[in-house]
Symmetry: C2
Subunit: 334 residues, 2 copies
């Protein structure tokens, strides 16, 4: 039998009704199938600015990307709090923040350019920039592997990056823009309608060229999205499992799976966010979120929150007594 | 302003878009409102047998109640694994297992009688037995308070106790039996239909007397359900918050709220189980589950699993930087 069937068979010997641990049994079987018998956790957060921010698609000014990176570095952001609580050290990657950042111990300070280009008028990235961003992510994966991590939450920060994620989702899934475009950090009705109008123009501009995953990512993505895509590809090749977070990191995962379908088995969906496109993208990837807490923050927060659930699934698999060892009677034949 | 509004106002100063932590913000505000500024966790599991088991309403033989208590005491059950992982020591209460149990350090071995009476023919408990079971739960709450716990997962073990929970749910909510009666530990279609037929006869027998919460609990509950009801009442009076677990502990919470509505603010719903009546009962109580992982095990497992989410909510509330302290720009006026 296939390895997963053997792991399922072990789950059926444990002192609980068949299947009574629900999704935890799926998670335990996936972890065992991947060979993850102890979990060494970390979080990686990729930051960059977006040229499309100039079109007024976000409730926050673009300088917030850089300000939030500084907040990450001083330990005051939500991802820092959760990473401390759940023992998953945070690594920050400057993939292309618009203004220069000083070096810091937990920062990989390697911006590829000061923000992506404005995709309303040109591809977000040149071919060289796309390759550099993918390579940056792959280097980060090598670092993660060298440090011995095997379960990593993938997060991001980038003002206007839900706009990129909506464009990517529409292009990858064939869905219309309206159902995949949300309110990001908090747009009102008029600003939301403007965001959709900008996205309609973006897609009209690039449509004839959106024929491969590389071109979709290059034209509609961003520096942190491409770096996350490279990171996911690299981690899977190093046998590191990934917990994807919200709409933007899931868009990167969808690009990675489009480029290399075998990546899929290394993915866990940490949560389902309030961004409407996230649900559509998770369904497109055939991933079931572990948590649904109506979050919409990014940074990897929903991914780190799912870590104790994965640890619980693994502990139950390895530590529960069996019906035989505990002397518990089996179900009566019905 | 009311205290909760002040806590909400603090959440709005933290470095995240307004409301972006979703349900975590609700949980943080509730914890602050209750004065829970550090969490001292435990789990309490109440076990008893049920006379109605004689009617063939469970997939497992009744001796499994006792066998699983022994499994709890030797540390091999799911609740033990999760309690160790999440630092919530387990306390086991024998409220009325049918066969005598030897004493053990983590066992309160005070059975009120060897299982409840068969509610198909008579009330599950006499008035004296109901009062003893409620008092047992209240004593456990005093013990929990003396030990300094302030956040407790409430779980149970008792073969046939989903039958009691379905009867209680129908009586408390006025819903028909079919939508509130599930497959418990794994009934097939015929056994499920039989369980519903037994429950129809049970309700027909007791209907004229189901006029107060006490009588509903006495006639249709069970020793562990009544002890949990007393425990929930006692904990709330000691200002201890409770995480209720699955269908049966939620039925006890519904009885407690029917007896003393002010208990409600001390309740968190750990998860939503696969038992169809659980969703109905949570809606009746106006409680939103923290997790939805398709579990149906009981023992307090879904409640302990929610603990890291509550700890996360509290840590975010207390540790995140504010827009001012971190020098992050606020949202642009839209």
């Amino acid at each position: 039998p296939a390895p997963e069937a053997l792991f399922r068979a072990h789950l059926d010997t444990l002192t609980k009704p068949l299947g009574a641990l629900g999704r935890l049994e799926d998670l335990a079987a996936q972890l065992q199938t991947l060979g993850l018998t102890d979990l060494r956790k970390a979080a990686w957060v990729f930051a960059a600015d977006h040229g499309i921010a100039a079109e007024g698609v976000s409730a926050y000014p673009a300088e917030v990307t850089r300000q939030m990176v500084l907040n990450f570095l001083s330990g005051g952001a939500a991802i820092n709090v959760l990473s401390r609580l759940h023992n998953a050290p945070v690594h920050i990657v400057n993939a292309g923040v618009a203004t220069a950042l000083d070096s810091a111990p937990t920062l990989r300070n390697t911006p590829i350019r000061p923000g992506s280009r404005n995709m309303l008028h040109e591809p977000a990235l040149s071919e060289a920039e796309l390759n550099e961003a993918l390579a940056l992510g792959i280097e980060c994966a090598a670092e993660a592997s060298a440090k011995g991590f095997n379960l990593i939450a993938v997060g991001e920060m980038g003002i206007a990056n839900t706009t990129a994620a909506s464009a990517l989702t529409a292009a990858l899934t064939g869905r219309a823009l309206y159902p995949v475009t949300g309110r990001g950090t908090g747009l009102d009705d008029a600003a939301h309608a403007h965001k959709i109008a900008v996205l309609e123009a973006v897609l009209a501009h690039h449509e004839p060229h959106l024929t491969t995953p590389e071109e979709i990512l290059r034209r509609l993505g961003g520096l942190e999205v491409a770096a996350m895509t490279g990171f996911i590809l690299g981690c899977a090749s190093h046998r590191i499992a990934l917990i994807i977070d919200g709409f933007i990191s899931t868009a990167a995962a969808a690009c990675a799976v489009a480029l290399a379908p075998q990546v899929h088995s290394w993915l866990f969906a940490g949560h389902q966010s309030q961004e409407p496109g996230h649900r559509i993208l998770l369904a497109h990837l055939n991933l079931t979120p572990i948590l649904t807490l109506d979050m919409r923050l990014g940074e990897g927060t929903g991914a780190v929150l799912a870590m104790p659930i994965l640890e619980s699934a693994l502990a139950l698999y390895t530590q529960m007594a069996t019906f035989t060892s505990a002397g518990v009677s089996a179900a009566t034949a019905l």
